[in-house]
């Protein structure tokens, strides 16, 4: 898994990392049980404050995607949180409707939205290319 940060982005560094790691887990680029670098190692690698990485890991742990084993490190959870299907469906439907209405208001057709979804799928499954730091 390759992570990138862009300090000049509208999205704060903390959110950028939460999103990238979540996507990597969703796209199975980070497998269940896989070990992540320690927050100190990742801080050095990305040249950001160790505290920020620590908070990213804490948040992902709270969401149930990561777990820290004392003295061993941080891992992707073997068993990811089980989706409550009814709930999840309702949420996904609401998101889909919002996406469609925004797209239609912006003059897009259903086919254009499908194309977008396919590209988003590729990004989640394969990882996004790095954004240039301005």
């Amino acid at each position: 898994m390759q992570l990138y940060v862009n300090p000049a982005d509208e999205v704060p560094i903390f959110r950028q990392l939460v999103r990238q790691i979540t996507e990597a887990i969703a796209g199975r680029r980070l497998a269940p049980g896989e070990k992540l670098p320690s927050h100190r190692e990742l801080a050095v690698q990305l040249v950001i404050a160790p505290m920020t990485v620590k908070r990213v890991y804490d948040e992902l742990e709270e969401l149930g995607y990561l777990e820290t084993q004392r003295g061993r490190g941080t891992f992707v959870r073997e068993v990811l949180p089980e989706p409550c299907l009814a709930d999840q469906n309702e949420q996904a439907m609401a998101t889909a409707r919002l996406l469609l209405s925004q797209a239609y208001l912006g003059g897009m057709k259903f086919a254009d939205v499908l194309k977008l979804l396919k590209q988003a799928d590729r990004e989640v499954m394969e990882g996004r290319p790095p954004k240039e730091e301005s």
Binding site: V5, P7, D9, E10, F14, R40, I48, A49, P50, M51
Partner: protein, 298 residues
């Protein structure tokens, strides 16, 4: 968390009745990395020199580890590392002599850290200071500021005038220090990307006072800039009176208003108050926030 630096209603003027700082109060706690921001002349260097005991406050108090840096300079300096903006090392001295002098000053000097940094910086120990480039001289100054393992590091524009690769090396060294012992850091910078990378808190100085003192996270997630066409709000006071509005300035045909509230909330309120037309609320990186808070009002 114990307090490392405490500025309390600090007043300092270089000319009578023209204060650089007039009532500045904030604290730096153990393990915090505080980015000190402000326009040129806002008093960043003055504050740092006060913390180092190189200046005394004309009113208010400065405490470092609970001590007065002007009354107990040795006890304070022992535990602090400082790199000044215009660090002047003696030009005819050799690097080796400078480092040896610092080793002598600080009994807790960490030889292993010195060795690591020399290797990383690839500094020639025999070079005379006057033959070094700006980046090389700054590296020597940084090495001398950190090898006694200070509990507090004060860096005045560590990136000023350095090329991006030296700047990056500086950041990397600082991150390593944070990793090792959770040193508290107070640094000033105009490089907003660097501040985004390492600061956990930001203090913004303006007009001799603290304009903002916020955690990086709340600053980036809980603040927004609203862009409102001047036609939609003919009177600027309508915007200024909205809850959480910190400042409004005009940028061509738009008002730019900084809010201490998330964009979703501000957007809904503005639409209700002013109608739907052309209002945008967005989270912005520090660089833009800096400009919106301190830029010309026009």
């Amino acid at each position: 968390m114990s307090t490392v630096i405490e500025f309390e209603s600090v007043y300092r003027a270089y000319w009578e009745n023209r204060p650089v700082l007039s009532g500045v109060s904030f604290r730096v706690s153990q393990g915090e990395v505080v980015g000190l921001l402000g326009r040129n002349g806002a008093g960043k260097t003055t504050l740092m020199r006060l913390a180092m005991g190189l200046l005394f406050p004309q009113a208010g108090s400065v405490r470092v580890f609970g001590l007065s840096p002007t009354e107990e300079p040795l006890a304070v300096k022992k535990r602090v590392g400082y790199v000044a903006e215009d660090q002047a090392l003696p030009p005819e001295a050799r690097v080796e002599e400078i480092i040896r002098f610092h080793r002598f000053l600080f009994p807790e000097w960490d030889m292993e850290l010195e060795r690591q940094l020399l290797e990383r910086f690839s500094i020639d120990m025999n070079a005379k200071i006057r033959t070094l480039s700006k980046g090389e001289a700054r590296r020597v100054a940084l090495l001398c500021a950190v090898c006694h393992r200070p509990e507090l590091l004060i860096l005045d524009e560590p990136a000023g005038g350095l090329d991006p690769s030296v700047r990056r090396e500086f950041l990397e060294t600082v991150i390593q220090l944070l990793n090792r012992e959770g040193t508290a850091i107070l640094f000033s910078s105009h490089q907003m990307n660097d501040v985004e990378r390492i600061a956990s808190r930001v203090v913004l100085l303006d007009g001799g006072r603290v304009r903002l003192d916020e955690d990086m996270e709340s600053l980036r997630e809980g603040f927004c800039v609203a862009m409102v066409p001047c036609g939609a709000a003919p009177d600027v006071r309508t915007l200024e009176r909205m809850p959480g509005c910190l400042r409004v300035r005009r940028s061509f045909d738009d008002w730019h208003a900084v809010f201490r509230r998330p964009p979703e909330v501000v957007s809904a309120e503005l639409r209700q108050a002013l109608g739907e037309d052309g209002i945008r609320c967005i989270r912005v990186p520090l660089e833009d926030l800096f400009v919106e808070m301190l830029g010309e009002k026009r």
